[in-house]
């Protein structure tokens, strides 16, 4: 992606453009994980600072720019979540509140094809597969923590997560004609 190349060459405007293009999805993800506007905004800032510092690391032969960006954002969010610990997380939800969602026209635009495809694919997974994957992705739980949460044996959880990911990958590649996320 040209933007990441430009950013690697210290183009601030390119960073601003990247922000403008992806902020809603990135921030949406951070809000979902952190449940706090304040924390999410902090992490969003951190993420873009990381993008600025590490844009040169992005190798387009290895994958999509969107994946690189979203992986970075999720890592930072999960790190922050783990740092906060459960007690503070409860206090967070007491003192903070999440404000307005993206406005309707924007939201509609974002009920984009990709979004519907992903939602549709997820719906085809079994309830257990879906739960395990969402616990891992949005709450940053490890396989052992997920097993505890679901009161299931570790082996079962691992199998479900693996098969869930395999199925998700299959469904997504079937339904996504272009890989332009």
């Amino acid at each position: 992606m040209n933007l990441l190349h430009a950013i690697a060459l210290r183009d601030e405007q390119a960073l601003a453009s990247l922000y403008d293009r992806y902020r809603l999805i990135l921030f949406g993800l951070l809000i979902r994980i952190l449940n706090s506007r304040e924390e999410a905004e902090d992490v969003l800032q951190e993420v873009f600072l990381q993008v600025w510092r590490r844009a040169a690391d992005f190798d387009e032969r290895r994958g999509r720019a969107f994946t690189w960006l979203i992986t970075l954002a999720r890592s930072r969010a999960i790190d922050r979540l783990r740092q906060l610990g459960s007690r503070e997380r409860l206090a967070l939800s007491a003192i903070d509140f999440v404000g307005d969602e993206a406005s309707s026209p924007v939201r509609d635009a974002l009920r984009s094809e990709q979004r519907q495809i992903v939602a549709g694919a997820l719906a085809e997974l079994s309830e257990e597969q879906r739960r395990a994957l969402t616990l891992a992705y949005f709450e940053g739980l490890t396989q052992t923590e997920i097993a505890a949460r679901l009161s299931s044996p570790l082996g079962t959880v691992k199998t479900r997560m693996r098969s869930g990911m395999i199925k998700l990958r299959e469904l997504l590649s079937q339904r996504l004609e272009s890989r332009a996320f």
């Binding site: 960073l15 999805i25 974002l110 979004r115 693996r162 998700l168």
Partner: protein, 258 residues
């Protein structure tokens, strides 16, 4: 295993083994990249959200600061005597910069605002209120010292949906933590209730002083910012019972703008 690693769901022991293996196996690294694409799709499940407009500015500022090795904090307003050099650190604010001199205080205080004009008239009004306070006592003298001291930081708090007309300023000495809170536009608290200031550190609220507003909806109270809150500088005001609370239970009426 790789699919789970893409979800960052491996336990410590498995994670170590995985990392060691990945260091030497290009094929697995490539496969992991593929799994990351799949995992990344899950991000689309989250409802999109709009961050506050200031975030964009802060990112660009911090990026510029990285480039020029000059740190520019954007979430507090510093009270300092002006100098052309200091102004040059705030090129963005130059367009809306204004000199505001406290009538009752030692000349030479300058405030640069990144907010709009209402904030300035608010402060003028609150400083006029301060004029009335001054004629009182020694305690008030100390408060004035705080306001006039260079290095005093000012944090603005804005009213939430539950108190849209409210506004407050917390002026504090970043070294000692001595602070004064000036609020305006808070409705009078119901019987048995009062307002309480909170310092938010790492998401955890630390209690500040309980105060009541006068008939005009204003309040002026001395506070002490705990050491750990001085860096993060996030504040909120809630309504609590008149004896105060150890953790916030009532609605948030004011919170720091940052």
């Amino acid at each position: 295993m790789l699919a789970l690693h893409a979800l960052a769901a491996l336990d410590q022991a498995d994670l170590r083994v995985m990392q060691e293996h990945l260091a030497t196996c290009a094929e697995c690294r490539a496969e992991l990249d593929g799994w990351r694409d799949t995992a990344g799709a899950l991000a689309y499940v989250a409802e999109p959200f709009e961050p506050s407009p200031q975030v964009r500015d802060r990112i660009l500022e911090s990026v510029r600061a990285e480039s020029s090795h000059a740190r520019v904090p954007a979430n507090v307003i510093h009270l300092k005597p002006t100098s052309p050099r200091r102004l040059s650190l705030f090129p963005r604010f130059a367009a809306i910069a204004a000199l505001l001199i406290f009538v009752t205080l030692i000349v030479g205080l300058v405030i640069l605002w990144q907010q709009n004009r209402t904030a300035r008239t608010e402060l003028a009004r609150l400083s006029a209120q301060n004029e009335e306070v001054r004629s009182a006592s020694e305690r008030d003298q100390k408060l004035l010292e705080l306001l006039s001291s260079p290095g005093t930081r000012i944090a603005q708090l804005a009213g939430t949906k539950d108190a849209p007309a409210a506004h407050a300023i917390l002026a504090y000495d970043p070294k000692s933590g001595r602070a004064i809170l000036m609020t305006d536009g808070l409705p009078p608290a119901p019987a048995g209730k009062a307002y309480q200031l909170w310092f938010i550190v790492g998401g955890l609220p630390l209690p500040g002083v309980v105060f009541a507003t006068d008939a005009g909806g204003k309040a002026l109270s001395a506070n002490q910012v705990p050491a750990e809150a001085l860096q993060t500088a996030v504040f909120a005001v809630t309504q609590e019972t008149a004896s105060g609370a150890r953790t916030p239970t009532g609605p948030i009426l004011l919170r720091s703008m940052s």
